[in-house]
C-alpha cells in the first residue's frame, strides 16, 4: 500500500521574482522515474522543511513537464519560509490533486480569463496549455482574452509572461487599483474592464482571484448573458490532506480538494459558498 502522505523530493531549479510578494518556483522531481502528470487547475501539496504542507496550484502547463511551476505569495509561515529557499534547495511535493478545468470543453471557444493578483497562477496553466495547442486543428481555442487586475503597478505579477502572451495573440488587458506616476494603462478594478468586453454564446469564462472579486465578476458575467455552465472558477480553501479526508475544505457536502477546486457556476449554485454570498 502506498503511503498517501509521503511526498517526493523535488529540487528548486530556478526562482522567478514576480513582485515583492510573489515568486515562481521552478521545480523538478529528484527521482525522474516517478510517473507524474497533471492537467491545468490541479494543485500539489507542497512540503517545506519544518513547516508542514500547503496546497498550491500548479501555474505551469503540463506541456512544460518535467518542469513544474509553483507561483507562491507570502501569506503565512510556510509561504514565507518558501521565499527564503534558494535555487538548488529541495522541497517535497505530492499530488496532483483536485479536478482540473475541463480542457476538452474549451476547444473552439472564445476564452475569457479574469484574474486578480495571485489568482492568475492556476489560469496561467490553462493559457499556456491552450497556446501550446493553438496550432492544432482539434484542440485549439477560438480566441483568448485576459483581464488581469493588480493592486498597484508594482504588484503586477507575471509581467514577462503576459507580454509574451500578447505576442502570441492573447488579448491581455491589465488594470491596477491605484496607479503611480509611471503607469500608462488602465486604472480601476477588474470589474470595470469587463463591461468593455464582448460576451457571446461562444464565450467561456474562467475566473480566479479574491472571493469578493469572484462574486462581482460572476454576477457581471451572468448579467451579460454568459451561461452558468460556461463560467468556471477555482476556489481556495485551507487544506491539509488533498485526498478528501481531513475535512478542512469541506464545503456543504463537497470536498474542495476532491470535488473542486474547479467548479462551474452551475455547480456552485447548488452549494452554500461565500464566493456567491449576497
Amino acid at each position: 500500500m502506498n503511503n498517501n502522505f509521503i511526498p517526493s523530493p523535488a529540487k528548486i531549479c530556478e526562482i522567478i521574482h514576480e513582485n515583492e510578494q510573489i515568486s515562481t518556483f521552478r521545480l523538478k522531481l529528484i527521482n525522474t522515474s516517478i510517473p507524474f502528470s497533471f492537467l491545468p487547475g490541479q494543485f500539489l501539496m507542497l512540503s517545506v522543511p519544518h513547516c508542514g504542507e500547503a496546497a498550491i496550484s500548479i501555474s505551469s502547463s503540463p506541456t512544460a513537464l518535467p518542469i513544474i511551476d509553483l507561483s507562491i505569495r507570502k501569506a503565512g509561515t510556510l509561504t514565507n519560509a518558501m521565499h527564503m529557499m534558494k535555487a538548488g534547495n529541495q522541497v517535497g511535493i505530492r499530488g496532483p490533486y483536485g479536478n482540473p478545468f475541463p480542457m476538452k470543453n474549451f476547444v473552439n471557444r472564445d476564452l475569457l480569463f479574469v484574474a486578480g493578483g495571485i489568482g492568475l497562477a492556476p489560469l496561467k496553466s490553462v493559457i499556456d496549455y491552450c497556446l501550446f495547442h493553438s496550432n492544432s486543428v482539434h484542440d485549439a481555442a477560438q480566441s483568448i482574452t485576459l483581464l488581469y487586475g493588480s493592486r498597484s503597478p508594482s504588484d503586477i505579477a507575471f509581467q514577462s509572461v503576459t507580454s509574451n502572451w500578447q505576442e502570441q495573440g492573447v488579448n491581455c488587458r491589465l488594470t491596477v487599483d491605484e496607479a503611480d506616476t509611471d503607469w500608462q494603462g488602465n486604472v480601476g478594478l477588474v470589474t470595470d474592464l469587463l463591461p468593455r468586453h464582448n460576451v457571446t454564446d461562444n464565450t467561456t469564462a474562467l475566473v480566479c482571484g479574491p472571493p469578493v472579486m469572484i462574486r462581482f465578476i460572476i454576477a457581471q458575467l451572468s448579467a451579460m448573458g454568459c451561461q452558468d455552465e460556461a463560467i468556471f472558477t477555482t476556489l481556495e480553501r485551507h487544506m491539509k490532506c488533498g485526498v478528501g479526508t481531513c475535512g478542512h475544505c469541506h464545503l456543504d457536502g463537497k470536498m474542495v480538494c476532491m470535488d473542486g477546486p474547479v467548479f462551474s457556476l452551475s455547480q456552485l449554485k447548488t452549494m452554500d459558498v461565500m464566493e456567491l454570498a449576497q
Partner: protein, 349 residues
C-alpha cells in the same frame, strides 16, 4: 459437523478463550482503572486486570485506528536535501467487548479512509485487527443507537458478536477472521439450541424497549434533506459552543484531522497527524487570515449537517451512531441531541 456461524460460549470459558487469543495478538478490552474509569486498554496480565463489560467505555475505538496523534512520516534535511521515511507498522490486535455503536463507527471510518485510495496507516491498523463486539442488553444513560440504526445488536461488520444470555454468550461469527477463530477454538464452544435462540430474540426485544432517550434522528435527517435549518437554531447553538472540541474528540465518527511537521532537531523531524475539530475557527482560517466560516453564527453547522444531512445523502444513513458521548462532554449543552430536538420540535412554516 457443527455450524460455525453461531455457537454458545459458557461464561466460565471466556477467560480461557481470551488467554488463548492473546497468544497470537495484542488483546484490547474495556478495563476499569483505579479511578473507576472504563477505557479500552491493552491487557498485559489477564488475571490481574478487570475487564468491565457493565459500563460504557469512555472513549471509542477511534484512538486505536486514528490515534489522537500519530507519526505519518519522519523527515530529514541535510545540505538542502530533503527525504522522508515511512512510519512503524501495525501489529495484530484483537478488540474484545466493543459496543455496536463503536463498531458501526469503525465501519463508517473504513468508508471515509478508503477513498480515493486506502489511507496507509489507517488500513494497516485495520487490516491487522479483529473486532469482537458485545451486543447491548441495557442501553446506557445517553444512548440512542436504535434511532441511528447502529444497535443495540448488529447484523454484520463484526469478527464475532457476543450476546450475554446470563450464564453464557451467544456468539455469531462474521466473515473471514471471525469464523476462522471459531473454527480454531471450537472446543471452547457448544452448539446453539432452540432455547438459546429464543432467549437471544427475547433479550433483543427487551433491549430495544429500554432506551430512556427518544431522539428523532430519522425525522431530522429527512427534514434536513428537504429544508434549510432556521438561522435562529444555528445562532442559539453557536452562542453556547465554547470551542473546546470535546464533541469531535469523543465522537467515534469525527475523523477530521490536521497534519503538522514537528522539528525534532535542526535537521530532522516528524510529520504528525492529529485530531482536529471543525468547530474551531482556526480549522478553516486560511494563511493570511481570511476565514470562510463565521464561527459566531455557524460554529456547529458543519458538524451537524455533515453527520445528519450530507452523510445521510451520501451513504443512506447518518454518521452519528447514538453512542451519547458528546452529551456528557459538552460544556454548553449543545450536543447533537439538542440540535435534533430543536430541529424536530420546531413548527414547520
Amino acid at each position: 459437523m457443527i455450524d460455525l456461524k453461531e455457537l454458545i460460549l459458557s461464561k466460565d470459558n471466556l477467560i480461557p478463550l481470551l488467554r488463548k487469543l492473546k497468544k497470537d495478538a495484542r488483546l484490547i478490552a474495556p478495563i476499569k482503572n483505579e479511578y473507576g474509569d472504563t477505557l479500552f486498554s491493552e491487557i498485559d496480565d489477564i488475571d490481574a486486570m478487570k475487564i468491565d463489560l457493565h459500563n460504557q467505555p469512555q472513549a471509542s475505538l477511534k484512538p486505536f485506528f486514528l490515534p489522537q496523534q500519530e507519526t505519518l512520516a519522519g523527515y530529514t534535511v541535510n545540505n538542502g536535501e530533503y527525504s522522508f521515511t515511512p512510519p512503524d507498522k501495525a501489529q495484530d490486535t484483537i478488540f474484545f467487548g466493543v459496543r455496536s455503536c463503536d463498531l458501526t463507527a469503525l465501519l463508517y471510518m473504513d468508508l471515509i479512509f478508503s477513498k480515493p485510495s486506502k489511507d496507509a496507516t489507517y488500513y494497516d491498523r485495520r487490516n491487522h485487527s479483529l473486532i469482537i463486539t458485545l451486543g447491548c442488553n441495557q442501553p446506557f444513560a445517553n444512548c440512542f443507537c436504535e434511532a441511528t440504526g447502529s444497535g443495540p445488536y448488529l447484523e454484520y461488520g463484526y469478527g464475532l458478536q457476543f450476546i450475554d444470555l446470563g450464564d453464557r454468550y451467544f456468539v455469531s461469527a462474521g466473515r473471514g477472521k471471525g469464523a476462522d477463530l471459531l473454527k480454531k477454538w471450537a472446543y471452547f464452544f457448544r452448539e446453539v439450541n432452540e432455547e438459546d435462540q429464543k432467549k437471544r430474540y427475547q433479550l433483543f426485544l427487551e433491549a430495544r424497549g429500554q432506551f430512556t432517550r427518544n431522539i428523532q434522528v430519522a425525522h431530522a435527517c429527512q427534514k434536513l434533506q428537504e429544508e434549510a435549518v432556521p438561522e435562529e437554531i444555528w445562532e442559539t447553538l453557536s452562542r453556547r459552543c465554547y470551542d473546546c472540541g470535546g464533541c469531535a474528540y469523543v465522537c467515534p465518527t469525527c475523523t477530521c484531522y490536521s497534519i503538522d511537521d514537528m522539528a525534532q532537531g535542526t535537521n530532522h523531524g516528524i510529520r504528525v497527524r492529529s485530531w482536529d475539530a471543525c468547530t474551531s475557527s482556526g480549522f478553516t482560517r486560511m494563511a493570511g487570515g481570511h476565514n470562510p466560516t463565521d464561527r459566531s453564527r455557524y460554529a456547529l453547522k458543519r458538524r451537524f449537517l455533515h453527520k445528519l444531512k450530507h452523510d445521510y445523502a451520501h451513504h443512506g444513513k447518518p454518521s452519528c451512531t447514538g453512542c451519547g458521548r458528546c452529551v456528557d462532554i459538552c460544556f454548553g449543552g449543545v450536543d447533537i441531541t439538542t440540535f435534533i430536538d430543536l430541529l424536530t420540535t420546531q413548527k414547520t412554516t
